[in-house]
């Protein structure tokens, strides 16, 4: 019997070998076995190598963008495997950044300089490159309070709506504001986050509490209703912290129509605006927090 075999996919002709002589599937398998920083370095070598890393679908657990009120603390944290070792990349000027205190932190500017693409902003360039080449199971955004400022003013010049990151990514798996220590952002910024930045889950910390206080004190006048779903992840005592509550304007039965529910099982209570005595009813139940601001027309419709 005579056997005939197909040729090997790529029979090398010279004794000089390179990774690109491997068949596609093999190249990708090699990439999938690379460590995070090695794969990053490889991806900066050419357009082809960048595409190769992207196509290899190198599984990486999470990328967290930590944007801080103190801009020198901005960083990217990559967790290659769940609960594994993290790679920390500083996004700040190395002269200012927390890298000075931690030698394990990688200088983001240096990494961005390796990427051969035109961009006027190294943070955008690096973030876009990382999000393109790696396949992160979770993409997380933390907006944190820094140690130097009390109010959320990045370098006192950059408003939250102008963050570099929004040009690169507006969709996340988790967004938190003030995780760990309370961070107060304006209601405009909160509205921007909730309407423009999409996330499967939010942690808003004291944001809803702050918003309700602002309404009570007359700082916000155009709020008609507010809904905070449980997925925004806030405890009841945080929402009600420092608020004076009263008996509700409506019964649980009336609340069904107001909040569009078949059943209303949670807590109902009123809050009152100081300047004009306007009432709002707060419903706290399994779905989250819903606030309904009353006006004359709405009260008339209620027929109480």
């Amino acid at each position: 019997m005579i056997f005939s075999f197909k040729e090997m996919d790529e029979t090398p002709k010279s004794r000089k070998f390179g990774l690109l002589k491997f068949p596609f599937a093999l190249r990708e398998e090699v990439i999938r076995n690379m460590e995070f920083m090695d794969a990053f370095h490889f991806s900066t070598l050419s357009k082809r190598s960048k595409r190769l890393v992207h196509n290899a679908k190198l599984r990486t657990h999470s990328i967290t963008f930590c944007l801080n009120t103190f801009v020198a603390n901005d960083k990217i944290i990559v967790e290659t495997i769940k609960d594994g070792q993290c790679v920390m990349i500083s996004l700040a000027d190395p002269r200012e950044s927390f890298k000075r205190k931690n030698p394990d932190v990688i200088d983001g500017r240096k990494l961005a300089n390796l990427i051969n693409e035109p961009s006027d902003d190294y943070k955008k360039k690096l973030s876009a490159h990382l999000l393109f080449i790696f396949h992160f199971k979770e993409t997380i955004l933390h907006i944190e309070k820094g140690v130097s400022n009390v109010h959320f003013e990045r370098n006192y010049t950059e408003p939250l709506t102008d963050f570099f990151l929004w040009d690169v990514r507006k969709t996340f798996d988790f967004v938190s504001i003030g995780w760990g220590s309370p961070l107060f952002i304006s209601s405009e910024d909160l509205k921007f986050i909730l309407e423009t930045i999409k996330s499967n889950q939010y942690y808003l910390g004291k944001q809803i509490n702050i918003l309700l206080k602002q309404w009570i004190n007359g700082q916000i006048t155009d709020l008609e209703s507010l809904i905070g779903y449980k997925r925004y992840n806030f405890p009841v005592d945080v929402i009600l912290d420092g608020l004076v509550t009263m008996d509700p304007t409506i019964t649980h039965e009336q609340a069904k129509k107001i909040y569009s529910r078949l059943e209303v099982n949670g807590q109902l209570m009123d809050i009152q605006r100081k300047v004009d005595g306007q009432l709002a009813t707060v419903l706290l139940d399994e779905e989250g927090c819903s606030v309904f601001m009353w006006n004359e027309k709405r009260l008339a419709e209620l027929g109480n």
């Binding site: 019997m1 390179g18 690109l20 398998e29 090699v30 690379m34 490889f42 900066t44």
Partner: protein, 188 residues
């Protein structure tokens, strides 16, 4: 093809292995097959060891060769260097019927040998060994700078890639023109 058993792999068992004595289970003699690479040196390998290779296993599973037929018809792998095939055969023998360990530290460190081995193992479809090999290739650049990686893996720059692409297009154009001219000549 002139094949002799002089090159029989030293790591391969010279004789069929014997199963532990048991009154209930009658002894089934192990079957052997023969392979050779570019150097024509024939390696005698047991069917058990060859199970690692999906390519060979697929071929032999329905052959039903006798020992003589198998000996007379070694599988020719002309595209695999003799020393590389020897490594593959040794690995298959060492891991015959055993669960494969999470790591294999006995792979060649020399770049050219390792690359040859990867291509051979990929061709022979030896999944576990391929995984080790790919890990080993990835480890070659561990902790290296981009330029070091470029050198080790011979990654062309964008400019070199573009030049090669241009050259390939030019060549393809010339070949197409040549074929058209030949076809026109035939038509006459």
């Amino acid at each position: 093809m002139s094949s002799t058993e002089q090159g029989t792999s030293s790591a391969a068992p010279a004789e069929p292995t014997t199963a532990p004595e048991s009154a209930a289970a009658p002894e089934v003699p192990e079957s052997f097959y023969y392979v050779h690479g570019k150097d024509k040196v024939v390696h005698k390998v047991s069917a058990g060891a060859l199970q690692h290779s999906a390519l060979i296993h697929g071929m032999i599973s329905n052959l039903g060769y006798t020992e003589e037929q198998a000996k007379a018809n070694p599988f020719p792998f002309e595209n695999i260097d003799g020393d590389i095939l020897q490594m593959v055969v040794d690995w298959c023998n060492q891991h015959k019927g055993k669960p494969t360990p999470p790591e294999d530290t006995n792979l060649p460190k020399q770049k050219e040998k390792l690359f040859d081995l990867v291509l051979a193992v990929n061709y022979l479809e030896i999944k576990e060994l391929l995984t080790y090999c790919c890990k080993q290739v990835a480890m070659m650049v561990k902790g290296k700078s981009p330029e070091e990686i470029r050198e080790i893996w011979m990654i062309p720059t964008d400019a070199e890639d573009e030049a090669a692409e241009k050259e390939a297009k030019k060549r393809a154009g010339k070949e197409a023109a040549g074929e058209t001219a030949a076809a026109a000549g035939d038509a006459k």
